[in-house]
């Protein structure tokens, strides 16, 4: 996982609420046994005018010109501005893999679905929850100003707009620490292996039926 310190980038607005993970990456692409290569199929059904299948060369497919990520002004976007309940539905981690592979580093929305939220942080994506009013204002600014960029400072927990306005955001300190250091949390958890073993022994005494070898 790459370290996340400060990211500055072009913003793309996706103006619909309840964007589900089926929409982010449709099921046929979940047959892959790899973690990479999902970017070309991000939002496949919105992005292309035909039905996609795994292993296809997407560069030759007909694109939907109305879809925001196909518009030249948003090419190269790394900050996705979204509406409420982004990432709802299926637990597929292929959704953050596809977003990350496409080039997104930050997603800003009024709310996120729980499982998606966890999955995204484990893949180096920073999810920022801002109130509905602020997100609404950002949508208006992005749409009104071509080339609109945001500067996201994880250390200082601020989103900085082109006018210099600082919008503070919350992030759990453990998630922040893992992002800043590009850390794999399995290694961190295994530092507590002794505590886990102690717990496990006690648990086995209390509920032996949970252990098949007991």
């Amino acid at each position: 996982m790459q370290k996340f310190v400060r990211k500055e980038g072009l913003v793309a607005p996706l103006d619909r609420s309840n964007v589900d993970t089926d929409l982010i990456i449709p099921k046929q692409f979940l047959k892959s046994i790899k973690r990479s290569g999902f970017g070309p199929n991000l939002f496949d059904e919105l992005r292309y005018l035909d039905e996609g299948y795994p292993g296809q060369d997407c560069s030759q497919r007909p694109k939907n010109p109305d879809f925001v990520l196909n518009q030249p002004r948003y090419e190269g976007a790394s900050v996705l501005l979204a509406r409420s309940n982004f990432g709802c539905g299926s637990s597929r981690e292929h959704a953050p893999w596809a977003l990350e592979d496409f080039g997104f580093k930050v997603i800003i929305a009024p709310s996120f679905a729980d499982i998606f939220f966890n999955n995204a942080f484990k893949n180096g994506l920073l999810l920022i929850t801002l109130d509905e009013e602020t997100v609404d204002r950002l949508f208006k600014e992005v749409e009104a100003n071509e080339g609109y960029r945001l500067d996201v400072d994880l250390d200082g927990q601020n989103v900085i707009t082109p006018s210099g306005e600082q919008i503070p955001f919350e992030v759990d300190s453990f998630r922040k620490y893992c992002l800043q250091n590009g850390l794999d949390d399995i290694g961190i958890t295994l530092e507590q292996a002794d505590a886990i073993r102690t717990f496990e022994a006690q648990h086995k005494t209390e509920q032996p039926w949970l252990f098949r070898d007991a």
């Binding site: 309840n18 047959k31 299926s90 637990s91 999955n119 484990k122 453990f174 295994l190 507590q192 949970l210």
Partner: protein, 482 residues
């Protein structure tokens, strides 16, 4: 000690440690695995040179990709025609074999949808923590087990450490009191709940379903309800343990035996919310007021009673919501104010981790018995949740009822719930489905899903459009052929 909710108790009983910011290590008793979300986790373990912490906590089965026609199933894994699907199922087999994890492979009688198989084997027990790389893991909460749907990185984390990193959620109680009307089922309860609180209404909460209507449900019904708590945004759904729970578990392969059984039941009796326990939010529904439900849109919250009409976006004052309704109507090919009963069906799917258990099949068969699927319906299929459900249904003659009515009787798997195998809708086709998600493209590119109960799906298959199953079962029917 202060009064605790069931969620509080389960959380406390599995808490290994908590950091200052509330991030906690929760010990996991059971991990269920399937072919779609596990390969990258196994690969991660291998690359890091790690081994599973506790093999006996894991149980695997192939479900999402498996074909459901007996012809394609007859040759086992090698017979899966889709190369990418076959490789994924083979990878699960190989991973389980090399790591030493118990697996019910494609043609094992015990194979099936992971959320049907776990409870059926008694591998889901009250008081457990259960995880699976699938959002419908909330199903297992029906057993008063703390269950989380997780992503692939978390699957790997649990395999390596036997723990999940998690922050404690808030408590919500959904109380459904009273008696359900005739023909109204657990599926209608949960769709009505989602319609009421919205698809994000449960985000950040563990929802405990309580009240007399929930206590009166079978385990199958409770599983249907907990299964769809994620469609209300809640990763965790729960029902308190009681005699119904214990009766279901007794004598199942993984259930405690002999003197351990009594000790276990004594422990399980405490798996209820204490009198006076604090819930951050309480939602109440009157069971008697719940009608058979049908979804009309592209989110499970877009739901109505069977006698209602499709909404008119012009009546919605919130701009984002109005655009959502407009987009949904366009995708679904429906008109504002159209009666739900005017929606014609091309396809009917009875199956999925929500509604493919024996009781679901019995309810559907009751409606289908002695009747015929409408000629306008191109495909009506019944996909049992597991090999054991299929066997039981065949023993009861349900397969014959379905086949005589014109339904296809298939092999177990996730099938058309998410269309990862060959079972999918064509663009523009309307499907009455007992599954859990009506998202765009979910059941096939351009497919239009309407979520309903098994009885409502069977009635829709016979009528060719949605009908109120309560009117339906008074209609005359042809004599059952011998």
């Amino acid at each position: 000690m202060a009064a605790q909710t069931l969620y509080d108790k389960l959380w406390q009983a599995h808490l290994v440690s908590t950091r200052d910011d509330g991030t906690s290590l929760l010990y996991i008793d059971r991990q269920l695995l399937h072919e779609v979300t596990s390969p990258q986790a196994f690969e991660g373990l291998r690359l890091a040179g790690r081994t599973p912490w506790r093999l006996d906590a894991n149980l695997a089965t192939a479900d999402h990709n498996v074909p459901t026609t007996s012809l394609e199933r007859s040759e086992g894994v090698d017979g899966i025609k889709d190369n990418v699907s076959r490789i994924q199922v083979m990878t699960l087999d190989d991973n389980c074999q090399s790591f030493g994890i118990e697996l019910y492979s494609i043609n094992d009688l015990r194979q099936g949808i992971v959320h049907v198989v776990g409870p059926e084997q008694g591998a889901t027990l009250p008081g457990m923590t259960v995880v699976c790389g699938d959002s419908h893991t909330s199903t297992h909460g029906a057993f008063a087990a703390l269950s989380h749907g997780i992503g692939t990185s978390e699957v790997e984390h649990v395999m390596a450490t036997q723990c999940l990193l998690q922050r404690k959620m808030k408590n919500m109680q959904v109380r459904v009191e009273g008696e359900l009307g005739r023909g109204v089922t657990a599926k209608d309860i949960v769709l009505a709940v989602i319609g009421k609180i919205g698809t994000a209404g449960g985000t950040g909460y563990a929802i405990e379903f309580a009240g007399s209507a929930i206590r009166d449900l079978s385990m199958e019904g409770r599983m249907t309800i907990c299964n769809m708590s994620i469609e209300a945004g809640a990763r965790v759904g729960l029902v308190a343990a009681d005699e119904t729970t214990f009766d279901y578990i007794r004598n199942r392969p993984f259930a405690p035996r002999a003197e351990q059984w009594d000790a276990a039941v004594a422990y399980w009796r405490n798996l209820v919310s204490d009198e006076g326990a604090h819930f951050d939010k309480i939602v109440e529904l009157d069971a008697a007021e719940i009608e058979p439900q049908v979804t009309w849109g592209t989110s499970p919250e877009m739901v109505a009673g069977v006698h209602d009409s499709v909404p008119d976006p012009a009546q919605e004052s919130d701009a984002t919501k109005r655009r959502g309704i407009e987009r949904a109507l366009e995708y679904m090919g429906l008109e504002a104010n159209q009666a739900i009963t005017d929606i014609k069906l091309d396809c009917v799917f009875i199956g999925s981790c929500t509604n493919s258990r024996i009781e679901d099949l019995r309810e559907a068969a009751k409606v289908a018995q002695g009747r015929r699927v409408a000629s306008s319906v191109k495909l009506a299929m019944v996909v049992p949740g597991s090999g054991l459900v299929k066997k039981q249904a065949e023993k009861e003659g349900l397969d014959r009822i379905f086949k005589e009515a014109g339904f296809e009787w298939r092999e177990p798997g996730c099938s058309m719930c998410l269309a990862m195998n060959a079972d999918k809708l064509g663009a523009g086709e309307h499907c009455a489905s007992t599954s859990n998600r009506n998202f765009e493209g979910r059941q096939g590119y351009g497919g239009r899903t309407h979520l309903v109960s098994p009885a409502m799906a069977a009635a829709a298959a016979i009528a060719g459009h949605f009908v109120d199953v309560r009117d339906f079962d008074q209609a005359p029917r042809a004599a059952v052929s011998a």
